[in-house]
């Protein structure tokens, strides 16, 4: 570690940046001002925890600007076994989360075009294009992204990450650790667990070598505990939406899921979700619903449409419709039970084999049927995401089965989670309007 780099890091992050962001959060929380554009006539006021979310995210990316040379840096896929890296004190960057942030801030067309100019097809996932565009052009709304020392890709979410991370490995000339998770067609098989466990052991060796640090088993157990506790809290928050009216909508969930994805394994994440759970329970006891006058409740399938969060939230809010649950946000909480401290590596192998996208479409369908029942769902919106093929495959059959067996109407909404060029306002509005008319 160079002293100059460390001083810069300490001064900008620890001494000034973090304290300034904390002060901003306290100031914002004390004023209790509702943003001018917020539709208080149809929606509950913003969650108080929002200010904390902003602080956490801002601190995370601020640290990223100065962390190179101070802590080892890893870029990882969203479903990667990050606990191993966290135990070695890696600073972990999630290109998917960064891309989503670019989407929410409407920077994707500009940044993604940089990748397209370099020859990457528009048929590639828009997260990948945003990340590759940001890598090539250095464009980002967060200031600067740290260069990775290690790349970690886990195939439990899709196969695109394989090629995407190979491009990054070539570009940055850094090692790429790959966790290959066999697809689960039926039950989880012992040899699959053994196969992934062996790769986790290899990952420890690679991560030690890159960071020049020794893996500490106690640290690892502590991080795993933090991960498990945070995911359990997240699931508890999701379950609160079974209540009528639902205290938060899926749009709140999309925003508040950032810490569970990119800050898993940290104590701060547990504190954050404890505070959020407390606020939500208060909403329930006060009878506050995310949508005022909740008349209908929907289930969302697939990733959010990041650049249309506000529009969709208001569109449904105006009509007394609350989207109370989603397969996507739920997925981040349903793995928790698999973590077992007495057998951490094996249980971690099971955990990371188990994401919804590593199972066949029928697995997701069964989850949806269960959620329709438990969350008292009146209709389902299946976002057919041009970018996310593994999530979108089978949706036509899932839609028909839901209509037939659950008796609730469902809508297939064609869009893209990050690229607004694959979204047509007028066409989406017609579909939504017709769907709302069906719900009446």
């Amino acid at each position: 570690m160079k002293i100059g780099q460390y001083l810069k890091y300490y001064l900008n992050v620890k001494l000034i940046g973090n304290n300034f962001l904390r002060y901003q959060r306290i100031k914002a929380s004390s004023k209790k001002i509702i943003p001018l554009k917020w539709r208080t006539d149809i929606l509950a006021p913003p969650l108080k925890i929002d200010a904390k979310t902003k602080e956490l995210i801002a601190k995370h990316y601020l640290e990223g600007q100065f962390v190179s040379g101070v802590r080892p840096v890893a870029w990882v896929t969203s479903g990667a076994p990050v606990e191993i890296l966290k135990a070695l004190d890696y600073y972990v960057l999630y290109p998917e989360n960064h891309a989503a942030l670019c989407g929410a801030r409407r920077k994707v067309v500009d940044i993604s075009s940089e990748a397209e100019k370099a020859g990457y097809s528009r048929d590639i996932c828009s997260y990948a294009r945003t990340d590759l565009g940001a890598t090539l052009s250095k464009k980002t709304p967060v200031g600067r992204l740290p260069k990775p020392d290690l790349l970690l890709a886990c195939t439990n979410i899709c196969q695109t990450v394989l090629s995407w991370y190979r491009v990054l490995a070539h570009y940055y000339n850094v090692p790429l650790a790959l966790i290959d998770t066999p697809f689960i067609y039926g039950e989880l098989r012992d040899h699959d667990v053994e196969y992934v466990k062996k790769q986790l052991e290899d990952l420890i060796t690679i991560a030690e070598r890159v960071s020049k640090r020794k893996f500490n088993y106690n640290n690892f157990i502590r991080v795993a505990k933090y991960s498990k506790e945070a995911t359990e809290l997240w699931l508890e928050i999701m379950k609160c939406c079974k209540h009528k009216p639902a205290p938060i909508s899926v749009f709140d969930q999309f925003i508040q899921m950032a810490p569970i994805v990119e800050m898993r394994g940290q104590k701060i994440t547990i504190d954050f979700y404890w505070a959020m759970l407390k606020e939500i329970k208060k909403r329930i006891s006060d009878g506050i619903g995310a949508v005022k006058n909740e008349k209908k409740r929907l289930l969302w399938d697939n990733l959010p449409i990041w650049y249309k969060i506000r529009y969709l939230s208001e569109y449904f809010g105006e009509r007394g419709i609350s989207i109370v649950a989603s397969t996507y946000t739920n997925a981040w909480g349903e793995l928790a039970s698999l973590i077992d401290y007495s057998n951490p590596l094996e249980s971690m192998a099971k955990t990371y084999l188990n994401p919804i996208l590593n199972h066949g479409p029928k697995y997701k369908l069964n989850k949806m049927k269960k959620m329709i029942d438990e969350y008292h769902i009146d209709g389902v919106i299946l976002h057919s995401d041009r970018s996310c093929k593994p999530y979108s495959i089978g949706q036509i059959d899932q839609r028909n089965t839901i209509s037939k067996e659950c008796g609730v109407p469902s809508l297939l909404l064609e869009a893209d989670h990050n690229d607004p060029r694959a979204y047509a306002d007028l066409q989406v509005e017609t579909r939504l309007a017709a769907f709302v008319e069906m719900l009446k």
Partner: protein, 259 residues
Amino acid sequence: MLRIAALGIDVGSTTVKIVGVNDTGGITWHHLEQTEPSIEKQTARFFDIIKEKIENLKDIPVIATGYGRNLVKEAIRSVTEITCHAKGIYKEFGHGGTLVDIGGQDSKVIVIDSEGKVIDFVMNDKCAAGSGRFLENTATRLGYKINEIGDLAMKADIEVPISSTCTVFAESEIISMIASGKDTSSILKGLHKSLIKRIVAMIRSVNFMPPLLLSGGVVNNIAIRKMIEEEMGEKLIMPTYPQLMGAYGAALIALDENK
């Protein structure tokens, strides 16, 4: 003077339709024009026409539908063409089914239950090769009128497959086919088949409920009717005014709201 209790206006991408209904929901008047660039001016003119035919336009409820539905200032509110088509069809037949509506800009498949309620729908508006515009463009390119090509396609013994998935590229494919001496009727037959395959794929993507119903301007095209029946193995039922179902449904909704 006409007896009109409610009005429905369907502002589509190709045509604008207005329908007036009496107290019992029967069509008493309708008017249809090609869609003009300025929808506000065109719909205002529609209402000028009707003002001359009835006395109390102000008291008559109007519901707008179609892609330009939000631009009709005279409407009390707008309703999507999905709901309006279902309403119109149910009123005419008294039963549900699976309605295929092939419009100028989009195609829709709407499943209507035995009480006239929409229980499912799919739309194709991303690709012109699944809409009426596909036939219109290529007919023009071949020098035929839109109402001639169905009969011509039916005369062909063999069908020339069209491989392009895009309206624009299909045009250039057709030009090269003509250049290589392919028979126009056979090309047209292939063209119709290409559209029908897309429509049938849409029908198969919903929980199909018989009977099979067809609306939209393409109802007049015999080749479309025959090919859908062949592909689906179902007899088609068509309304009396296939192009007016959206506007008719809108008028019926307006009538209900006034009761």
